[in-house]
């Protein structure tokens, strides 16, 4: 199987984020592999390992695909050090500030050319939190959308995939065939920590850095624009009391005063 994993480098989720000129300031914050993409990398590796592994000459390959500044090679290396085989990073000045539609268009073009059997993603990035790129890629590729999976079962011989989809609307069993776009929820697995051997090996793995033109994507222009962005004013300071045995009742009084009960 040819497996692609889409990942994104995002500002560290513990960092305070700021907007500059309508765009997220990515340069002045610590950047990491999107938390939720680690589950996608792990699931890709587990699927490969369950069906003959992804060692050199083996039946499967796991390719990391990302779009972002050249600095995103750090996040890509992390995925490689977990055990992916190689990577493609689309990095181009014309893509700065790309929205979800542009991102999906570019990634889908690269995926189409690479003829992958499975494309695995996290459910969202912790910076934009739109949760739409996997569905958009599936639309663009005209292939099955198997998203929000808490369980993935692959039958490589029959080229079939079954997932358990978990959302606020309930639990669905969904089935599709190769090629398909899968997104996995947190808790589908426990992502492995890169081993020392993995980290050393990742340094020698290929990251194929491509420009926008090579992807064959049709457009770079975002279809929506940020008009303005401003930090919200801090909340007014409230009352903090120390419990002397009556705090429970005082809490009820507060709720009553605010007409919350």
């Amino acid at each position: 199987m040819k497996i692609a994993v889409c990942i994104k480098q995002v500002p560290d989720s513990w960092a305070e984020k700021k907007m500059i000129g309508g765009l997220l300031d990515r340069a002045n914050v610590d950047a990491v592999l999107n938390d939720l993409d680690e589950y996608a990398v792990e699931e890709a590796l587990r699927i490969a390992e369950a069906h003959g592994g992804n060692e050199e000459g083996g039946p499967n390959t796991v390719t990391v695909i990302s779009m972002g500044p050249e600095r995103a090679t750090e996040a890509v290396r992390k995925a490689l050090s977990m055990g992916a085989n190689d990577a493609i990073l689309i990095s181009d000045a014309v893509l700065v500030g790309a929205d979800a539609v542009v991102t999906a268009e570019v990634l889908a073009n690269v995926i189409f050319k690479g003829e992958y059997d499975l494309v695995i993603c996290g459910t969202e990035s912790t910076d934009a939190r739109m949760s739409v790129v996997p569905a958009m890629m599936s639309e663009k590729l005209g292939c099955a959308q198997l998203t929000f999976a808490s369980k993935v079962t692959v039958d490589p011989a029959a080229k079939k995939v079954s997932i358990t989809r978990v959302t606020e609307a309930g639990v669905d069993e969904v089935h599709g065939e190769f090629p398909c776009v899968i997104s996995v929820v947190e808790k589908i697995n426990e992502p492995r920590y890169p081993s020392f051997k993995g980290i050393m090996a990742a340094k020698k793995k290929t990251i194929d850095i491509r420009d926008f033109a090579s992807t064959g994507a049709e457009f770079t222009k975002s279809w929506s624009v940020v008009i303005d962005a401003a930090p919200r004013p801090p909340r007014a300071t409230g009352v903090v009391i120390t419990d002397d045995g009556s705090a429970g009742q005082k809490l009820v009084d507060f709720l009553s005063e605010k007409k919350l009960i």
């Binding site: 989720s13 513990w14 960092a15 305070e16 700021k18 907007m19 938390d35 979800a100 539609v101 999906a104 912790t126 939190r129 739109m130 949760s131 739409v132 790129v133 569905a135 958009m136 599936s138 639309e139 005209g142 099955a144 959308q145 198997l146 998203t147 929000f148 606020e168 609307a169 309930g170 639990v171 069993e173 969904v174 599709g176 947190e186 222009k221 975002s222 279809w223 929506s224 624009v225 940020v226 303005d228 962005a229 401003a230 919200r232 909340r235 409230g238 009352v239 903090v240 120390t242 419990d243 705090a247 429970g248 009742q249 809490l251 009820v252 507060f254 009553s256 605010k258 919350l260 009960i261």
Partner: protein, 317 residues
Amino acid sequence: MSTVLILADFAGEKATKATVEIATAGAVIGEVTALVLAPVGKGAAYAATINQGPVTKVLVIESDDFTKHGVAAFADALAHVIGQTTPSAVLVASNAFGKEVAGRVAMKLKIGIITDAVEIAPDCTATQLVFGGSTTVHSKVTEGTGIITVRPNTITANFAAAMPLIENTTAPISDSSKKATITSSQPPVKGGRPELTEANIVVSGGRGTNGDFASVEAFADSLGAAVGASRAATDAGWYPHSHQVGQTGKTVSPQLYVACGISGAIQHRAGMQTSKNIVVVNKDPEAPLFELADFGVVGDLFAVLPPATEGVKARKA
């Protein structure tokens, strides 16, 4: 007058509160038409539940492909109706399903998409709260009819009775949208408590519970609240992951958020800091979440919550 198309959101066979909210949001732009996508034979029953909110027309499409193929089939039908009716804007509920449908429609029709709007102006400018609610952003779609998803529980719904005109129509579902097939669906398991993202009150527990959520749940039940949990609590396996509030969990914005034994790392604040009122109960007076508290108690949640629970019950009795 311009028209706004909304994709009606259903739980089972009944339109949800989110449907009334997006209708209310859409009414500031123009007359609202609600699109109802139902299994064969169920269209009239589904449409009849669109009986609240400023909806002037309901368009019904019946097809078993909706149940069988989910998101992709919904996107085909919505895109088709957008093409037929050329609305000024399209609004969809910002849940996992709605966002995916909107994403596919944006890609299919080459139109701009904005997700998680908390307010929409008459000129279709959307207000979003990003980075865990720390920043307010105004955005606008620049290409084609904009498709905007509206975050549940942020628009004050207009529940006035509606008597919309009901019309039936059809839409083709493409072969590529039939490539994923749903063989079984189960509604979410309801423990008698409201859905976390829709609840008016959320009571959450964290590390300070030491795994014992009984006091948190009892207080939540006295208030008719949903129960949330911090990542520390869900990672420890103390509470189901589906209840996690925070950057990698759910974002909630209730009238009242009660955080019990949660210190308030950015990770957690990102999921709850747009709540209208925040109550914090924590043994540690240095807990950063006290900075956000409208009312804070430095104390043991196991000592504070039981009398508060009794107090609320007495007040309601």
